[in-house]
């Protein structure tokens, strides 16, 4: 049962990844166009996903992602390869998200969004139904996402960062320690407490919901 999901695989060898990083960094310093494309193709999605989970605001996340890549491009000369490129970029992302959150709480907390209906704000392409999954599955999945996003939002930013980096971004404890600039023990503690808090939030939200009323009906 439980063993089926356990991550028991041997730690990956980093030599290949490190040499890839170094090659990419050197190409970026030389101004090679493919290197810029490669960096974006490797990191724009995970960085956006991380920013989105940390901030829970798509427009704010887009700004943060742009700021992150601007910093990466401008400071690539200062990258000393003491950590992996991924860790370095994620650290910048976490810091930028932290700054954005602080700025948000200072300046935009009292703003009221005019377009409060997300369905209306979407592009028409986004609302075309996808034929791959059934509407029930899609609705169920979306419901789950909404619940988790709401629960994540209620977490303390410290625990939220740790849980997101571990469970969504799938980083190792050592990488998380580097990204957050804390010890390994602190990372373990934050992940444990963060997961517990998230579980409690989810359990609470499920408990508060009214039970679905299913009425049996004969097919005509």
């Amino acid at each position: 049962m439980a063993t089926s999901i356990l991550d028991l695989s041997a730690p990956k060898t980093l030599d290949g990844a490190e040499s890839d990083d170094l090659r990419l960094v050197e190409s970026l310093r030389a101004g090679a166009a493919p290197a810029y494309e490669e960096l974006l193709s490797r990191f724009q999605q995970p960085v956006y996903a991380l920013a989105l989970r940390l901030l829970d605001d798509p427009s704010e996340s887009a700004d943060v992602v742009q700021e992150v890549f601007l910093k990466v491009f401008r400071n690539i000369g200062a990258f000393r390869a003491q950590s992996s490129l991924k860790t370095w970029i994620y650290r910048i992302t976490v810091n930028e998200a932290h700054n954005a959150r602080r700025w948000f709480f200072r300046h935009r907390r009292r703003e009221v969004e005019l377009d409060s209906e997300p369905e209306e704000a979407r592009n028409w392409k986004d609302v075309i139904p996808d034929g791959c999954i059934s509407p029930f599955d899609a609705a169920f999945e979306r419901e789950q996402h909404v619940m988790i996003e709401a629960a994540l939002e209620k977490l303390s930013p410290i625990f939220r960062e740790a849980v997101v980096l571990r469970d969504i971004t799938d980083m190792s404890y050592e990488e998380i320690a580097e990204v957050l600039g804390v010890s390994l023990g602190t990372v373990k503690s934050r992940i444990l407490r963060g997961r517990e808090a998230l579980r409690a939030e989810l359990a609470g939200s499920l408990k508060d919901r009214p039970a679905p009323r299913l009425v049996p009906k004969t097919a005509e």
Binding site: I5, R29, V65, F69, F73, I168, L192, R199
Partner: protein
């Protein structure tokens, strides 16, 4: 193993951070304890849900903005690495600034220049300029004081005996039969005339119609003036003439 210890280790168990022996202990406890088993199962489900949330597509707008950003930053990086590239970039920037500066001005300036040329081209034939008339010219000093020029009607010797003079209107006029006041405009032509005494003879009419004068000037600026033409009894000898143009 107590429930408290097991629950603290479940998180590490999920991440594969427990030694083999400890892992077995926790799993055994979770099988036996309903609460710990439930915690393990719910954390597994929670983690699986969180994993799914990693697959967020980057919006097209964001991707496009990042591509533009990368392109700009690459240009910047190239300029930093290569001096030639830096110069080229600087030249391109200057060119761009110059173009942006001049483009709004270029069309109005060209249009204005062309319309000015067209206007002057059309007006040129109708513009009149003062004609120099050799020995018939009269001139004044800047304050309008009298400057006399010899009256010369040309090579005709008979005409030189015609007793006609030009004089200042305030000079004594008792010796003359016909006196006419001429008003001279800024271009030196006769603009008007009036008879003071006698009549307008043919010679006077010729003067009115065909003579050209150097107009009076005030502080170097041309202005209108008055001159008096006096004629004694005809026919007699022409005399030398003098003129006054009063500004």
């Amino acid at each position: 193993m107590s429930c408290e210890n097991a629950q603290e280790r479940i998180s590490l168990l999920l991440d594969g951070r427990l030694p083999a022996a400890e892992r077995e202990n926790v799993l055994t406890h979770a099988d036996a304890c309903r609460e710990c088993g439930s915690t393990l199962a719910s954390l597994q489900g929670q983690r699986a849900l969180l994993r799914k949330m990693a697959q967020v597509p980057v919006p097209e707008v964001v991707a496009a903005r990042l591509s533009v950003l990368a392109s700009h930053e690459r240009e910047r990086q190239l300029a930093r690495v290569n001096i030639g590239e830096r110069l080229r970039r600087t030249a391109a920037n200057i060119d761009l600034v110059f173009e942006n500066l001049m483009r709004p001005v270029a069309l109005p300036v060209t249009g204005g220049l062309l319309s000015t040329l067209l206007l002057f081209g059309l007006m040129m034939p109708s513009l009149s300029f003062s004609h120099q008339n050799g020995g018939y010219d009269f001139s004044t000093a800047p304050q309008g004081s009298l400057v006399a020029n010899p009256w010369d009607l040309g090579a005709d010797d008979d005409a030189r005996d015609f007793p006609i003079i030009f004089a200042s209107p305030d000079q004594a006029k008792s010796d003359y039969v016909n006196i006419v006041n001429l008003t001279i405009d800024e271009s030196g032509r006769v603009a008007d005339w009036s008879i003071v005494r006698g009549q307008v003879t043919d010679e006077m009419k010729d003067i009115i119609l065909f003579s050209h004068f150097v107009p009076a000037t005030t502080f170097g600026v041309r202005t209108s003036g008055t001159i008096q033409v006096r004629q004694s009894l005809p026919p007699c000898k022409y005399t030398s003439c003098s003129a006054t143009v009063r500004g």
